[in-house]
Amino acid sequence: MNVGRIRVVYGFKLRQFFGPVRHSAATIVILGFAAFITLPVVLIVGYFLPDTPAWRSTGLSELLATALSAFLAFDLLFGLSGGTLTHPAEIDFFATSRLRPREYLLADLLFQFTVTDALAVPALLVAGLGLGIRTGQWTAIGSAVLLLLGFAAMGLALGQGVGLLVAAGKRGAKAALIGLVILLMLPAGHMFWPPLPEYAALPFPSTAAAQVVVGLLGLLRGTDITVPAATLGLFAAAVAAVWVWASGRDVFPNLRPTMRIAFGQTDLRKVAMQQEALTRGLSVLTRRISVDLMKGAPLGMMSRFHLVRILRDGSMLIVGLLTGMLVLIGSANRLSDAPTSEVSILTTGWAALMIPMILSFNWNATERPNLWTVAMAPQYLSTYFRGFYRAVALVTVGAGIIGAVAGAVATPLGIVAALVMAVASCGIAVSLMAAIRIPSDAFSLKSVLPFLIVPPISIAIGAPVVAVALLMGSFNPAAWALAIGYAVFVIAIFDRVPARAASRFQL
């Protein structure tokens, strides 16, 4: 192995990825400001961690195992897109040089570790600092942080190794990988359906890592962590074996261009392309779901078209991640010693505001330039946007309901309020995109507009349901009738608003 070549490739990847940070003072200022705001909060969270219900909960190890399993599952799913973060220029100019595959893969692994930990390491260290100040267990905290970082590195190496096998078209590799992801996440269902085994009952690497971390922090009283530590060691050996085997082959013909964006990139079209590239590995699922454009009325056809587009362009990845976070937060809240309905309502409401904006921004970046086809038949423009709104609303409300069910402690009227907000935010976000031409290749004042308009108006529209719940009580039949009537009214209104906004559409 030639260390010089590894350094060149690693240096290229770093410089390209952090290019906007290197060349834009504004990006540095924004990042510095974000760190200035975030890190003290993380320090405080670390300091007060021992006071939280989750810390004292007997289910802490199970929750951590769920989070680590989700991390590992994400690494494996990333493997579906090839396992490497490869810029197209690396294929064209590096893979056609004397570079050896293992040199390239090692540089890529270092790069993946660097970018995934660029945010995680400072956060972990600062949270650890806060916890250390509070408890004084510096060695245990340091060991736990190192173990989590080691686990992250193993996850990345596993994702790269199996990703290379998938990219090489090894028979059954993709199916095995998807099966592994399902197996890994299945015990998370124990929170909803107790007959499923929980993580603690299974010798998963994520279970072992969680038990060792919790054990190191002295929270697994009377329990020996030798077995989980040995399990983790076996996992590390297996990952190393897979990686050594997979990297010993000529992988260059199988490299896929999965890295198209840089940190702080303002071109939203490229961000959208990146999502598509990362989810291309799931095409075995997404391509099977097709839309019959010959069937049904135009509005239904447009709604189905948008749903399939959302599924295929990678937007579902973000929706899935947000829904996963909702489920995790909701479950953590429900399993804690003092669950509160506010947590569920707030997280569901937050998703209700974020998902429509993400979906509409993705549409603006990828689909808007193609809309000349619909613009040539203007009588269908309003149907197009109405269908767009319905598809976005369906996805958002679906994610909100999953989050609400996971939390299961919110008052029903609180959930209705969050869902009314979801419908309103979908309608406003889609209408804004129809009425205003927002440039997708750079940030502008117009890009900020949806963030300024959608959340406050949507919250205001959801507020009457909250008021009814507070004034009349959550279980009052009259309150229910009022809230449902209001929800139907909001749904009916917003089903029309995007169609009106379409009259202002400009390509």
């Binding site: 050896r100 198209r260 990139q265």
Partner: protein, 266 residues
Amino acid sequence: MQGPRASLAIENLWKRYDGKTAVEGLSLAVQPREVFGLIGPNGAGKTTTLKIIVGLLRPDFGRVVLDGHDILGQPYDYKASIGYLPEATTLPDYLSGVEFLTFVGRLREVPREALGLRMTDLLHRLDLDGPKRDLIVTYSKGMRQKLAFAASVIHQPSLLILDDPLIGVDPAGQYAIKEEARTVTRRGGSVIVSTHMLDTAEKLCDRIAIMQHGRIAAMGTLAELRSTSRAGADATLEDVFLKLTEEAGQPAPPETSRRTLLGMRR
């Protein structure tokens, strides 16, 4: 009588994607000091062939021999002597032109002191010395293409492979690229160029292969192609190309040779 040793020989090359044959029993030889043109309609198998030569695709069957070495048996070291300009390349937006060339040059193991001189020379000849420290994201399409070309020749390869190199490039840039390609042949190397610009191919290439449906429909100098196509002494490459591809578009004879290859892999 034995001819000059071929710098590149392709023998009975086959490649299929998803059940469709992209390259079908292709054989050709490129001589030293020769600019060899590959022309053909879209989907003829030109890019697939070039990608196999540079190691970005594995063939299903066949041999590619560069200076006597089977590149499939030794898939890395031979790449030191090739330069590759892909079709429609994507460059790293947030590097400057000089930074990108430095990375490629260092990976191509150009000595540091020579690399600086080589970059200065190339950027000057391609009229990129003005914006060389600007980010690539600010470059026009033609500037990007010229920069990609500079990256493909930074290490002075003996076999230069160009896939549609002149798309979007201004006339002065086209001239500079063609001159650099001729420099490669003057040093004793070879150039393989795939292009849809038939007038350019006519002027630049010593020999031309017309590909269709993954096969060579005809190959030779322009005079030989005129003769093969019976297109007349004054026929342009465009006339010859249209005539030969029209003829090659007729239904193919039964593929006995392909059947014999079923199940055979290297």
